[in-house]
Symmetry: C2
Subunit: 710 residues, 2 copies
Amino acid sequence: MSKQDKNIKYLFEPRSIAVIGASSDKGKIGHSVMNNIIKGGYQGKIYPINPRGGEIEGIKAYKSIMDINGEIDVACITIPAKFVVDSVRQCAAKGVKYGIVITSGFSEIGNSEDERKMVQIANEKGMRILGPNIFGIYTAEVSLNTTFSGSAIPSGGLGIVTQSGALGLTMIGQATVGNVGLSTIVSVGNKADVDEADLLEYLITQERTKVILMYMEGVRDGERLVEVLKRATKVKPVVIIKSGRSQRGAMAAASHTGSLAGSDAVFDDIIKQCGALRAENMKEAFDWSKFLSNNPLPRGENAVIITNGGGAGVLATDACEKFGVNLYDDMENLKTIFSPATPEFGSTKNPVDITGQAKSEDYTKAFDAALHDPEIHAVLGVFCETSMFTHEDFDRAVEHNYRQFKAAGKPIVFGLLGGETVSEYTRDARRKNIPVYEDIYDAVSSLGAMYSFKRYVDEKDDEIADVAIDVKAIDSIVDGARRDGRSFLFSHEGQNIMKMTGIPVPKSLIAMTIESAVKSAAAIGYPVVMKVVSKDILHKSDVGGIALDLENDQEVISGYEAIMRNCRMNMPNAAIEGVEISEMVKPGTEMIVGAMVDKTFGPTVMVGLGGIYVEVMKDVSFRALPMARTQIMEMIKEIRSYPLLMGVRGEKTRDINALVDTIIKLGAIIRNCKGISDIEINPLVIYEQGMGARAVDVRIILSKEDREVR
Amino acid sequence: MSKQDKNIKYLFEPRSIAVIGASSDKGKIGHSVMNNIIKGGYQGKIYPINPRGGEIEGIKAYKSIMDINGEIDVACITIPAKFVVDSVRQCAAKGVKYGIVITSGFSEIGNSEDERKMVQIANEKGMRILGPNIFGIYTAEVSLNTTFSGSAIPSGGLGIVTQSGALGLTMIGQATVGNVGLSTIVSVGNKADVDEADLLEYLITQERTKVILMYMEGVRDGERLVEVLKRATKVKPVVIIKSGRSQRGAMAAASHTGSLAGSDAVFDDIIKQCGALRAENMKEAFDWSKFLSNNPLPRGENAVIITNGGGAGVLATDACEKFGVNLYDDMENLKTIFSPATPEFGSTKNPVDITGQAKSEDYTKAFDAALHDPEIHAVLGVFCETSMFTHEDFDRAVEHNYRQFKAAGKPIVFGLLGGETVSEYTRDARRKNIPVYEDIYDAVSSLGAMYSFKRYVDEKDDEIADVAIDVKAIDSIVDGARRDGRSFLFSHEGQNIMKMTGIPVPKSLIAMTIESAVKSAAAIGYPVVMKVVSKDILHKSDVGGIALDLENDQEVISGYEAIMRNCRMNMPNAAIEGVEISEMVKPGTEMIVGAMVDKTFGPTVMVGLGGIYVEVMKDVSFRALPMARTQIMEMIKEIRSYPLLMGVRGEKTRDINALVDTIIKLGAIIRNCKGISDIEINPLVIYEQGMGARAVDVRIILSKEDREVR
């Protein structure tokens, strides 16, 4: 985990900048960068560095950074890759705080050695590296544009952090077209040193930045990202596009940036846990960012649709369900509020239908009613173009009302359907930052994103759920297994750990012979289950190493013989230690609970529908640790099969508390026991409320080496 | 089921039209309609009808339709609702073939009586009614525009059928803006007589119509729609937007058109079965329609992405997975094809990355390589705006290559990301009908829709799967139950029907007393299951009416007593006929299979994951009957839990043939036995390949009255 960078302010607000590779040659990046810095109106000191010296763009150039007499906050490096390491060494010696390495030709093409070296040299002197392989940085705070982008960057409230340079440049273009001003845009490239979390730290506190938009392909230090993201999203919306959703996309991402994209399902759940808004594509990300930076949050959940067409109202209703916008449905109150604004053949139900005869003043009347009623918290205005509407009518019906709502702190969005008039009006209105969309789904999507953000902000920060466990005792079991040369624990070892942690397991005994198997079964009480014990056999059922529902001595004897026969036949080289005899567990709801050290996000827990359905239904949800009890409940409610826990078809509610407790306990193990990398209970059988749970099968995998445990 | 309408040609190609309510008064709909007919350039005979006679728009007006001397194909009725029935009566008497009733104020506001009457009067004389409550019809075939739309309608290849008038008018606008010409647009309104299926019949054979776009809220005669849709989609793409996806949306739809929207899950599956493309919103529907009407179908599944940015390539890859576009992945061949067109730091893998240095000629080189290789069937060109691209560069890289591909019969789509240049170029190019999109997802969505259509067209029309059953014997069981006053069959009756049809059920016997229960259990063989038999108890497990795994006489006795006690306590008024003793079924994969007479689509089958998971996981798929065996397999493959049938974790493949056979047999029952409306087997336990299946629980519900059986 990287530490928080106290100097990060100097990257965004440098008092001086050196451009290494500054040039008067228009074909060179060093020229474009110089040019953008000057044209951008940067007021700090500018030091062009070029071995030929002289003047560049009217500014005295230095042959070497060492020749400069004064402090340098940022050095922007644009020279060819082979010279970069030396240049970084000089910068570090000079006391430069940040190196912005635009140059490419490092880990993205396999040259990780130079990349590692430049970071090491820099870090030794307290210098940090942004990049390499980036387009630079634009920061409105000091009007500094070190990019080689051809276009001027409009200033405003959107802060962008992008892993892809090419997409970053297109985002500058899209921001200009969409009239979205930027507070900053930073390209992180290969993320050799500075990463998204470092940049977020600054953007959280920077007032200028109202909304943060991030394009990511891979995550380096997921634990830190989670921690910083959680703080960021409590203050301002963070919209994330992470490509590599698809398996093939993830492959493409890994091949082109050299960073490993984790499983998308894990990323998706954890990003949501952090309160960030995940957009699917660039259009959605920009729509959301723009809407969120210009509009007030709703004070409550009651949204209303006002429309002049029934069909369009139905489409809008569908869209609201899809994007999680709740339609107000107090029919009596809706009638009271909207009757005065609704003609005879209209409807005051939600959608409020003011009919195809509605003129702009009729919309205003209905919008006013919604504006002034405190029970209504957000409005979706839907227009089907009719002969009632010219450009001016739309102006009256849309812009005027938008201003009223904004002033009153109530969000409103508009979906306009129609031809040339709508198309032209929409273009104009969007330039004025009025939330007007040519498709109803786009309008509702933005409002839905706003609601997601609001709900997260409103969540209470509950106390982290934790439990004391006997780490020493667990570590000693792990050490024993390691001495055996094993990378996993035997079933009975896992069950011992469960017992120590207070997770109930079926009674069980180990037997090495037929005789002791029969004795053990009698001691436990029939019926029993028998499983092979062998460090060489991980999937016991696949090799016939399990016998179920043994009801008497005779069945135990033949079960024992069958298991030995099967295992010898299927895995002739496996060393068999004996069998484990366990109590046959009463049926209940079978869940899976897991805890693992995720490659990206560190200690992570999982819950889902268990038994044989795990792999097929993939009905699981993930969270990064630590978490509060309420958040664990949210996680459980997220799975599709949650109703099973609430009891279906007359069954009683299941003991959900026992499930939550088990998750907390596995979480405590994975956070504190440095030798364990994966624990999985499947099934964890959950009984009726108050009757607890039983961990039937426990698999524990050891870390390759002891992890760092905090 | 309505019959096919032999006259439908006259609605789209009338030789003469009467406008009832034609007017010189500019405020009236009768004026707008007359005006549009004349301005539209209709060459047939026009008869304005107005009680005042005289001339309207320079054409002699008649006081009554009866005064006209000549045949009238279509009468367009625009007079107030209270006069419509009389007017229809006169039209019918005059021998008019189609009445286009624009007037509203009928079933949509509760006045179903007049609506029913006008249809009856018309139909008696062989006249059909389009509407009421519509905006009219535009038909390019005879340049006839009877709508009251304010804008001219561009002619072309898209045929639109819409249930919502307001949305229909906005579609005319969107068509104009998007430069999509229409072959026709018809509003069906209340669908009192003519419905979508009637109109489809004509559009299937009309050459002018290349793509059909339908907006629907409810379906009247689903069986006919399915039959006609299946034929339509074999010939041309049909894009459907059906609103009322969400539960609340369905409520809104029902309230506003008076037609009942069926379950959206059923609609969705059956529409897909018919090969239609369901769009989620208007934008998607128009994008697809436009792309499909202007572009050649791919000859195979191999698509290639060509990009100048790695990040954009990853986004494109994600989009391809989402929309079902298969990326070609023969790495060797890709290398051969694209090496000459790819610079050193690029990639010939798919996405083919020609790097940020790529100019328009580099794109052309790569596109050419893809164009000339027969292994590549579709191309997605992705552009991140760079300084290499002016408007003219885009012209060269996009339009030129588009024409080449189109001429060669290979589809290509373009996703352009960037600022002002991209935005302007895209606007221009779309006016020329070049498939250029400002978001990659939109581009891939259209290509995905094309692939869905192509795959359906390529499907073989396999023989319908059917089986002979003893309808008489089943009918007599149904009749017996009806005589008892029951609306459902007892479990043993259901099992008898299963046995007659050759669906294996567990052995079972009925017992009225404890003594006979014990005897029956012994006859069947332990362990057994016991269930209450009562016509008053449908959900037996909810009232404690089931005892499982009874292993001996003593357990049968106490099980019997418990069931009687539970049922008397929970349903004191239920008449209990006895208990059913059945063989305890071996465990296997539990599926659910159902057949029902769907309100909308008629005989329909369902398959899914069974047991207690049905309601929670909702992992089911639906199809309208009849179907081929291959289609039943497709249906089974669609469920998420299909891998369970293939065997997970070392299990053997399940007897999928037994599942298919059961579906065919239930289908035969529901199609042929007029007294049955619902059959559900849950669970149908499926064993290993060759070991068959067992219908454990069978529920059969009777029709209120005998249905018409074809």
